[in-house]
Every structure is written in structure tokens, then in C-alpha cells.
Symmetry: C2
């Protein structure tokens, strides 16, 4: 059968479908467990979580499933704080804070130790799979995790980055096509040179690395899954389609936007977090884009805009929140994760047979 | 079999593979005929050709094949000449002209009558298929051609554009994903909102139009062809892979660049023709990009840079010519068109069976 391959056998799961580890509350323990119980690989998006929160969420997932699941972490980057840049950004953001009655946030140096603590939690909890975004974990971290038989997945956006992931010793690589929603995983080149469509990215990568390639970007249903496998991927990673899953904790405004948008409405912008990410265009993006070049980088800008976005969501102002989305929002459905996976499998089976 | 569908039956050809109608000399009668003789649909890229040249090329193709083939035309747009803008562009271009010893070109208003004459040639020669880029032909033109049983194919880059193509009465639509090389076919929206990856564009379009969808962008081999059909396309259109075909008349510098580039090296730029097009980045693009906003539009800029590019090619200066390419140049091969098609079919057969 089409779904029996190195990927599913190595992970001991039924279907080569990963639910992407979207940070920021989307990936509830309920969502992760529902995907894993349905035969896919659920992923806890733990990038923004403190170690104790990661531990708690993992334990909740374990209460809901005995199937393998993954945790996604952000590889920390060197961050420099520039007081003037932050002050300028805060000035630009003050009209939103005033309208929403949000206090000016204090910016602290991001605590890099938390990544190490997150990794320790992964080990303590014997998580099956750990995936990484925003670069390569150090050999020390890789060795620690692999010694515990934890499968490691990197994220890349070019063939060269995939080779670096392989050389660093990770077990698999997610290839993130330009269609993908949310943050770009680019780490070894200018992000604008790494906006490669999934149709181009996957076969070119498959030809140049030996580790399993996982396709991501634009895949929302059985057609996309089988197409990605046909291109040579061993599995797919799907994000946007799970944002609207019933078990997701995405903001209702975000879900509504996805269910009512078209492929022309997304844009890749750095004005929300300081790192390029694809989402549905709104007033905040339009108003801040002229200042994109002078805004601070990730994660500084993220911490400056985060309280604004949280309060805007509460006050039901979709024009000022982040609305991450890939380029296929027309294919969004508000259904349970299991129904999504069942539908995908049924479609792939149908297409495989009729092929 | 996978290759028997509405598309191949309607056209009376063996395989659902169109060789894109690349204007500017790539699509020699030999290339068009070789593709059609191999079971695909060759296309003469006639966008820049005068009616008598189109006629001559069609007759040459007919001497080489009795199989169906297509001619691609550019739908003319309203063009305004602004003397100051042209003068400014010519100033910016003067260093290249001086280095190459090229005369300053005279710019004449493009002769819109030639489109009508091209259409008359298509009718006189009873060409099987006529495809259009850069917008919608008028109802009068469509009626004239369809009265002669000529199959008409439009080009679109968004779902909305595909609907316009269908509503206008064309028979099929090429959906050009963001991966595609050469000119963007966008005609009803800002081009930057219409950079949709093939993986996203095809299934969303298939769900919203009834006419057959032809996938384009990033497709270079059997993997891409079967993936595109899996997404719901009835056929594929492939351009970049035929630029390096032995029968192509692309400049040797262009072919060398394709055979030696990676997915990170292409860029979408308007500085060559005045219309956004994807090609391999070179010095000309880098030097002219800062002036992109003040340069004249298509086809004015095209006529200003054309003599420079022609002479640069003669003097073997790849840094100053156009090097159109999609995002999959790593998959380029220097082989005859028939070998390309045979290889594609063999791969699709293998993948269909093993699926």
C-alpha cells in the first residue's frame, strides 16, 4: 500500500502525515492526540513554551493517546537588543496599543537556557520525535536526543539547507515550499532566495539527500498528499488544514479568516514577529509594511506585537492579529482532525486505485 | 491508462504534455514537431513574430509532423509611450550599449494590428490549438477561431483569472504556478498577489472551474507530471525542460546557465521586458533592479533591452542577457525532446504501477 514506507515503518505509525507543530496555542494536546490516534503524527508546537509548560502538555497528550507524537522546538538564535530600534518600533505600535488600551511591553533578553530545558523535558518524557525549526541544533543536543532513540527532524527551504540538515546528523528533513503558512524555516540563505514552490523543491531535494524528505507547503487534502509522495517525499507535513480543526485552539477570528479567504490574500511579511511568515493580509500588515526594514528582528518584534495581537483578538479585531495561512485557504474545512485524516486517506486510496 | 483523459481525447494526442510556447526563438519548428511526433503537444511561441513569420514557421512544422500542434499568441495590451520615461531608461541602459557598441534603439508604437494578422494565419493554416498569454482575446476573436474548430487555451495565475478564462469561452486553461519560468501570465490582479505555488494553485482551481486545467510551474519530469495530474490537472505544460532540448534554439549561454544553476538562483523581475518574468539572476538584473519602479512597461522596455541582449549573447556575456528559468533548473537535461518525453512517460508508468 502507498502508506507503507520507510517513514511510517520507522515511526511505527499508520500514515505518512505529520500535523505541523504550529507554536502559539494552535496545537492543543487534544489536536496532537487526535492526529496521532487517527494514524498520523501529531506535533506539539512548543517553540514559545517554557519547559514546565512543555512537560505539562506532553503529559496531557500521553493521557489522550498511546500513539507516537512529536514536539517541535525553535533553535535559538543570537539576539541583539538595540534600544533605539525597539523604541522606534514601540512608537510605531503605540496607536494600536492606545486603541486597545494595552501597556507598553518590557523587552527582556530572550532566555536561551530554555531551549536546553525544553530538550531535557523531551528526554525525560521519552518523546518519540523531536522536530526543529529555524536552524540546526548543536551536535551535543543531537547526540543527547539520539542516544535516547528520539527521531530528529530538521526543517529546510533549499536543497543546500537540506544537505546541511543531513550533514548535521538529523534523521529526516521537512522541505518547506513557498506555499507554506506561518514562519519560513530558512536559516542558511536570504529568505527571498528560498521561496521555492513545493513542486520544484521536493524532487530537487530528493535527488540530493539520502535522508527521508517530508513535503510541506500548500498540501491540504488527499490530492496534495499523493502528489507530494509522487514527487518523491516519504511523508507530508500539513499545518493550515489543522488550524481550522475542531480541536485547534486557534482564535475564532483566525479560523473565520481561513474559511473565507482565497489564494490571493496571503503575503509573506516580517512585520508581525520580525521573521518572514505567511499569513492573510490585514490592516496591521498593510500599515506596518512601509517600516519593515527598520523594525527589530525575531524574537524582539514578536514580543512587542504579541500583547497587541492578544488584546485585538479579545476585542474581535481581526485587522490587528496574525492570521497565518498557507496558499490554499480555499481548501480549509472546520471538521475534527480524525475526519480530516480519514478523508485524506480515502481520497489517496481512491486516487491510487484509479491511477 | 493514466494518459487517456478528456484532454488527450479532445486533442487526439497520446500524452497530456504541452511544450510551452516560449517566444523569442526557443521553439523552433524542429522542437515543436519533435514534441508532437513524440506524442505530446508542441507549441510555436509566436508572441514576437510577424504574421508572415508565423505562417512560415507553421508550414515548416507541418513539413516535419502530421500530428496536432499549437501556436501561442500574446494578447495585445494598450500601450502608452512616455518620451521621458523612455529617455530615462535609455540613459540607464547606455553603459551596456556602449560596452557592446550597440546603437540606441528607436521606439515605435507597437502595431496592434499584427495580433489580428496572426489570428488570420492561425485560421488560414487550420492550426489545431491556439493558446493565449497576457489576458483574454475578444469574443470576436474567440468566435472566429472556434468556428474553425480550433481549440483555445487561456493562461491564468489565480482562481479568479481561471474563472474569467472560462467565462470568456476558452476551452481550457493553463494554470501558471509561481515556480514557472519566463513571463507571468497575470492579467486581472497585481502580479505579486498571484505568485501561487503549483501545489496550491491547481487543486483550488480544479474545484472552481469546469474546463480542463493544465498545470504549469516547476514540472520537469515524470514525477512532476504525475503529481500535477494527481492534483486534478488534465495535462501539464512544461517550458524550462524544453529550453535545453537539443532542438531548442535558446542561446548556448542560456542553456549552459540552466544546466549549472540551482533553485536559489532564479528571481522574478520586470527589468528585462517591463513585465514580471522568472529567470536566473545575473549582473543586468542586479544592476537594474534599483530602477525597476521607474522603467517603462512591456513591451516598451523589451524593445529597449532587446538589442543589448542580442549583442551580449553574440559577445558571450551571460551577465547581460535574459536567462528565463523556472525554479527547477537542477532537473534540466541536454537531450532530444523525444528522449525527454519518453523518459517522462516511462517514469509515470513506473510510478503509476508501483502506486
Amino acid at each position: 500500500m502507498w502508506y507503507v514506507n520507510n517513514f511510517t515503518e520507522k515511526l511505527g505509525i499508520s500514515y505518512p502525515i505529520i500535523q505541523a507543530g504550529m507554536a502559539g496555542g494552535v496545537t492543543t494536546p487534544e489536536l496532537v492526540a487526535a492526529v496521532s490516534n487517527a494514524g498520523g503524527l501529531g506535533t506539539l508546537g512548543a517553540g514559545y513554551m517554557k519547559a514546565n509548560q512543555v512537560k505539562e502538555a506532553i503529559q496531557q497528550i500521553k493521557n489522550l493517546t498511546d500513539q507516537p507524537f512529536a514536539v517541535n522546538l525553535f533553535v535559538p538564535e543570537k539576539v541583539e537588543l538595540h534600544a533605539e530600534e525597539i523604541e522606534k518600533a514601540n512608537e510605531l505600535l503605540s496607536p494600536y496599543r492606545e486603541a486597545l488600551q494595552v501597556d507598553k511591553p518590557e523587552v527582556k533578553a530572550p532566555n536561551h537556557i530554555s531551549f536546553k530545558e525544553q530538550v531535557e523535558v523531551i528526554i525525560e518524557e521519552k518523546v518519540d520525535v523531536c522536530s526543529f525549526t529555524f536552524g540546526l541544533p548543536s551536535p551535543a543536543v543531537i547526540n543527547r536526543l539520539q542516544a535516547e532513540n528520539i527521531i530528529l527532524i530538521g526543517t529546510a527551504t533549499t536543497v543546500n539547507e537540506a544537505r546541511l540538515v543531513e550533514k548535521q546528523g538529523l534523521d529526516m528533513v521537512v522541505m518547506q515550499g513557498s506555499e507554506a503558512g506561518g514562519h519560513r524555516g530558512t536559516f542558511a540563505t536570504d529568505f527571498s532566495d528560498a521561496m521555492i514552490g513545493t513542486m520544484s523543491l521536493v524532487p530537487q531535494t530528493v535527488d540530493h539527500v539520502k535522508i527521508p524528505v517530508i513535503a510541506a507547503g500548500g498540501i491540504m487534502d488527499g490530492r496534495g498528499v499523493l502528489a507530494a509522495l509522487t514527487l518523491g517525499a516519504q511523508a507530508v507535513q500539513m499545518g493550515t488544514c489543522f488550524v481550522t480543526a475542531v480541536e485547534s485552539d486557534a482564535k475564532p477570528l483566525h479560523i473565520d479568516a481561513l474559511l473565507n479567504s482565497t489564494e490571493e490574500e496571503t503575503v509573506v511579511t516580517s512585520v508581525i514577529s520580525g521573521k518572514p511568515a505567511r499569513g492573510i493580509r490585514n490592516e496591521f500588515i498593510e500599515q506596518m509594511t512601509p517600516f519593515e526594514a527598520v523594525l527589530p528582528g525575531y524574537p524582539i518584534l514578536n514580543s512587542l506585537t504579541s500583547p497587541i495581537r492578544a488584546e485585538a483578538a479579545k476585542q474581535k479585531r481581526p485587522e490587528w492579529i496574525h492570521l497565518w495561512s498557507g496558499q490554499s485557504p480555499r481548501l480549509s474545512q472546520r471538521i475534527p482532525a480524525k475526519a480530516m485524516i480519514d478523508q485524506i486517506i480515502a481520497k489517496v486510496n481512491q486516487l491510487s486505485i484509479s491511477g
